[in-house]
Every structure is written in C-alpha cells, then in structure tokens.
C-alpha cells in the first residue's frame, strides 16, 4: 500500500527514501517542494500549512495508487508537512522507484501535479510587510 503521509514535524528524507528502495529498481526520481522567499512578486518570510487530514491522506493515497496503475513503477511514497514552516524548509517530498527512469520521472511528476491540484491542504503565506494570506488559487498554479 503506497503511503501518503502528513507530518507536523520536519520530514526525514533519508527514511522516506528508504521506503522506496528496492533491489529490482534501477531508477529513482524524487521531488521536493521547498518554502521559497518570494511569491507573486512579494517577499515571503514563512508559511503555515493546514490540511483536512482524513481526506488529504485518502486522496493522496488514491493519487499514489493511480500512479502505480498508470506507470511501470516499483514503489512510491509522498509526505507533506503541516504547521509552520520557514524559508528553505521542506514542504512536500515525493519519491518513486522503477526499473527504468522514464516511468520514475513520469510518475513522480504525476504525483506532485495531482497532489497540488487535489489534496485538501492549504498554504498561508506570511509576507515580509507583516500581513498574511491563505492561498486559494483558482487557475492552475504556476
């Protein structure tokens, strides 16, 4: 069962990666989303993530199952932070192992794209000017 995890403490990349290691695997693709210091032209100091945990984990595991059915991969895992994060902190991690690299890349990209599109997690950005805003992008995000 591929795992989609929410965590209120920093993600441990080494142990997440260990979940998808497999002697049959020749390729491994991973993606990390980091908190960056700007967004839409504004300086950002940090952010909060809030999730509807029950649905987020269920929808996340659905995405991982879809990727497993659609691409020729061996194992996959995704983890997303909730709570308060600083610039440079790891917000989301996706790892995929496969016999060949094409499937690993394609599945990894599918998982992060669908996670951003469908999983009920919301980001509140803290701007350097002192205000903060929940992001509710209506169009596909940049």
């Amino acid at each position: 069962m591929p795992a989609f995890l929410l965590s209120s403490v920093p993600l441990d990349i080494a142990s997440l990666r260990a979940q998808v290691l497999d002697p049959r695997a020749g390729g491994y693709a991973s993606f990390e989303g980091w908190v960056r210091d700007h967004h839409a032209g504004r300086a950002v100091d940090g952010l909060d993530y809030e999730a509807y945990a029950a649905l987020a984990e269920r929808e996340g595991e659905r995405i991982l199952a879809e990727a497993t059915a659609r691409f020729d991969i061996i194992a996959t895992c995704c983890a997303h932070r909730v709570g308060t994060l600083a610039i440079g902190d790891l917000a989301v991690w996706v790892g995929v192992s496969a016999a060949h690299r094409g499937a690993a890349f394609d599945a990894c990209r599918y998982i992060i794209d669908e996670t951003k599109r469908r999983v009920p997690i919301w980001k509140r950005e803290h701007y350097r000017e002192g205000d903060a805003d929940w992001l509710h992008p209506m169009a596909e995000e940049a």
Binding site: Y52, L55, E59, W122, W134
Partner: protein
C-alpha cells in the same frame, strides 16, 4: 431535529471564526447547507468554486445531508 457537523478550513475557518460547528439539518441537500453557512458567516466563495466532502470522502452538492455526519466545504487547495 437531526444535526451534523460542519468543518471549515483555511480562509473559510478564519472567516467563520470556528473550525467546526454543529448545525440542525434544515436544507435538503449539501448545496443548501452551504447556502445557509454562507449567509450565516458571509463567505464570499460562490459554491461553484468549492468542493464538498462528507466523512472524509468527496461528495456531490445534491447529496442529502446525513444526521451525525461531518461535512467539509473545500476551498481551492494550495498544498505542495
């Protein structure tokens, strides 16, 4: 009268001032339930921009409200 629990997240939670509330089931469907909440809290989101979930699964706006269930209104997400 039967009740259910409404869950609010992100800007809806901030606007409502609560993360959840228990309400009487007055409406015939989930769309009506949102209309009532929208009027009560002054949510600016038209329903077309939201999704709705019941007990941790996505649902349809024309589903009937179930007593004792947990209904969440899902504004556009921004994880990742």
């Amino acid at each position: 009268m039967a009740t259910l629990t409404l869950l609010y997240f992100a800007s809806l939670r901030e606007r409502a001032g609560v993360a959840s509330e228990t309400v009487d089931i007055a409406a015939a469907d989930l769309a009506g339930l949102y209309g009532d909440a929208q009027a009560r809290h002054g949510f600016s989101w038209p329903r077309e921009h939201l999704r709705v979930a019941v007990d941790g699964e996505f649902a349809r706006w024309d589903d009937a409200p179930k007593a004792g269930s947990e209904v969440a209104f899902i504004p556009p997400v921004s994880g990742g």
